[in-house]
Symmetry: C2
Subunit: 397 residues, 2 copies
């Protein structure tokens, strides 16, 4: 393998449950054969920190040539210990942590990149290591991954959860005002939480908008910026106050929009108790024609979905449907995410609007367009222990 | 204090960041004064397992009388290490873990009960401890807490997340079929995930329904069962196949329903692109009168909410709004959760229906009813380091 590339990683599956002497022997053989990175996966998330650290220590002590290779760890979170195990291994000399944004991955997921990075940084007194990661991009990156995968981060998730820096108890709030370090071991800015909330309104100009986009950490070309600004102006007509989260949603929307075979031209829907919910939808097809039809459903959203299926001729199985408000207030934007299945493959779509029916229609159309354009699935690099979502997010510490 | 009760717990705030000799001195004084439980809180989630274990070890070795008291730990999850720290302390002799269901709590939350319990059970070879907790109630309890608090559990959360036992990678699926222990260190049943999914339909009788409710782990009296069965029959008219999650939603709905000042009698709504969304709502008041009105909004849900506000005379600030599908398929039930604020207090409501507008109306009415009936807030037991959500969920291991 060394003949083909510089860095060869050897990874014995389920190493954490393997008998240590046998593991040491196998690893030694791999190093002799040219491996330059040795990965010790805890494939089923069975390890606990003290024991996992002992395994790494054992290899350090008993494997000839171990000091010439990079020791890597790959932990799963089945018992909630992926981050702790990875950190314990770092303290024993491991120098690569296989991890994912938001801890996504098979079953309960993998080690969460943002937690490892911030633990190493916050407790540099213990780890004495550098990650070279710009921690101020952690929160925006987490949001982006959450939007792309449709897998939401829970409110009380460490580092990137909505509540991670929210102080509820009165005595804590008092302490925070007196001296923030009393209750805050990291600052919200450190991980890229926006300081200000309320930013722009109907009368904000292009320059102020461009500045805000930059401050939020996005790099847009002129065409993208123009499209986002146009969406911003439309939104400002409907909504008095535009928050950072609104702008992020607009940007992510523009960055998402691929080649679309079908676009929403117009819709109406009727619903109510005791009535039969119905919808009328007009879709614009890439060739310039507009197709209109109507349908019924169990509710207005279902009626819209079924009408879109009728127009496009694509019938899917809906697997998951979510709506959440992105910002506060009654004129908040709603974000809809749709997960649907066709012929054993899963497709996800996302839409944003102040009207959740419209947001849902956009999300469903994204699914329909993905199917119509039949994008190939993501390649799988290492099927032995990586799920598809991990590959994009994988990074070394 | 010992004059008033048997068990006196002493808890020095932020102990994990306190100088060890000083901490030992303070703890010794507390024991001399009669404390029977010594709690060592990591109030800001700063500790890492090896160091936290060393602190517990230090107290064990240097505090006179430490063997006569119960050592307790209270960890926060700011660096994602609450569970690992608690487990490390157990290995050093701590015998009480302060934890919460779903890891709820201040900021990133507290130690997750379900993760500690399953780690101790799954790795009994390391811990040699018993928790006396019925692990088959973990998943239903997690769901109940999530419904009551409105704080959702992320899909890739250990133990109780929707994906915790889902195997995506093909090679893993193959391994599972060959021998489940290859990839599964716990079985879904161990934590109370339902084995079967598809259960009942339109023609299922009361007896089969009662059995299924019992199997799902709910204890309902005859009146409650009758109300849930009635809801079940209504749902079966709309929906071909009723899943366990549907039944759980119905039960939780009945158990939720308190004294309601306002009940939804009927509603209709119209929405569409380029049109002004509007709603007409009829509410039944406890005194037997029906009040009808109509209103407009940014979308159909907003129009319904504003019309309900107009009828009831209660104006709230909407803080959060969520809709998710509880089961799969296009006729899935949608669950709406609403969080609203009035005069500095937050109220939460929840509604379920196949029509998400109707579900949203029910959720919003629950908020309105709570305000109309002005329920007192939950008492706070230990404001120094507990958030309100923790108290209900707190438990000792």
């Amino acid at each position: 393998a060394r003949g083909y590339c510089e860095d060869v990683e050897f990874s014995p599956e389920d190493a954490a449950r393997t008998e240590l002497d046998f593991l040491a022997e196998v690893v030694e053989k791999a190093i002799e054969a040219g491996a330059t990175t040795i990965n010790i996966p805890d494939t089923v998330g069975y390890a606990i920190p003290a024991q996992y650290a002992a395994a790494i220590r054992h290899l350090k002590q008993h494997v000839r040539g171990i000091d010439k290779v990079v020791l890597s760890v790959h932990c799963h979170d089945d018992l909630g210990l992926a981050v702790a195990n990875s950190l314990a291994a770092l303290q024993e000399g491991a120098r690569q942590v296989e991890c994912t944004i938001n801890g996504l991955g098979e079953r309960a997921g993998n080690c969460a990149l943002e937690e490892v990075v911030m633990a190493v940084k916050t407790r540099s007194d213990c780890f004495k290591l550098e990650t070279n990661i710009n921690t101020r991009r952690l929160y925006p990156t987490s949001r982006l991954v959450s939007n792309v995968t449709g897998i939401q981060v829970q409110r009380n998730k460490a580092i990137v959860g909505q509540n991670a820096f929210a102080h509820e108890a009165g005595i804590h709030q008092h302490g925070m005002l007196m001296h923030h370090a009393t209750y805050e071991i990291m600052r919200p800015d450190d991980v890229g939480f926006s300081k200000t909330n309320l930013v722009l309104g109907k009368h904000s100009g292009r320059h102020a908008f461009r500045e805000r986009v930059k401050e939020l950490g996005y790099h847009l070309d002129d065409e993208q910026l123009n499209r986002v600004f146009e969406d911003f102006k439309n939104l400002a007509d409907k909504k008095k106050e535009i928050y950072d989260a609104d702008i992020e949603a607009l940007i992510e929307g523009v960055m998402h929009r691929g080649a679309a075979l079908w676009t929403l031209e117009a819709f109406t829907c009727n619903a109510g108790s005791g009535t039969l919910p119905s919808a009328a939808v007009a879709l614009w097809r890439q060739d310039g024609t507009i197709v209109r039809d109507a349908g019924v459903g169990d509710g207005p959203v279902d009626a819209v979905f079924r009408t879109i299926e009728r127009i496009t001729g694509i019938d899917v199985n809906l697997k998951d449907y979510h709506v959440r408000s992105i910002t506060m207030g009654e004129d908040a934007q709603g974000e809809a995410t749709v997960e649907a299945e066709l012929n054993g493959r899963t497709y996800r779509g996302r839409g944003v609007s102040t009207d959740i029916i419209e947001a849902s229609a956009h999300a469903f159309l994204e699914v329909i367009n993905k199917i119509a354009l039949k994008k190939p699935p993501l390649p799988r690099v290492n099927p032995a222990h990586l799920a598809p979502t991990e590959q994009a997010a994988e990074a070394g510490v």
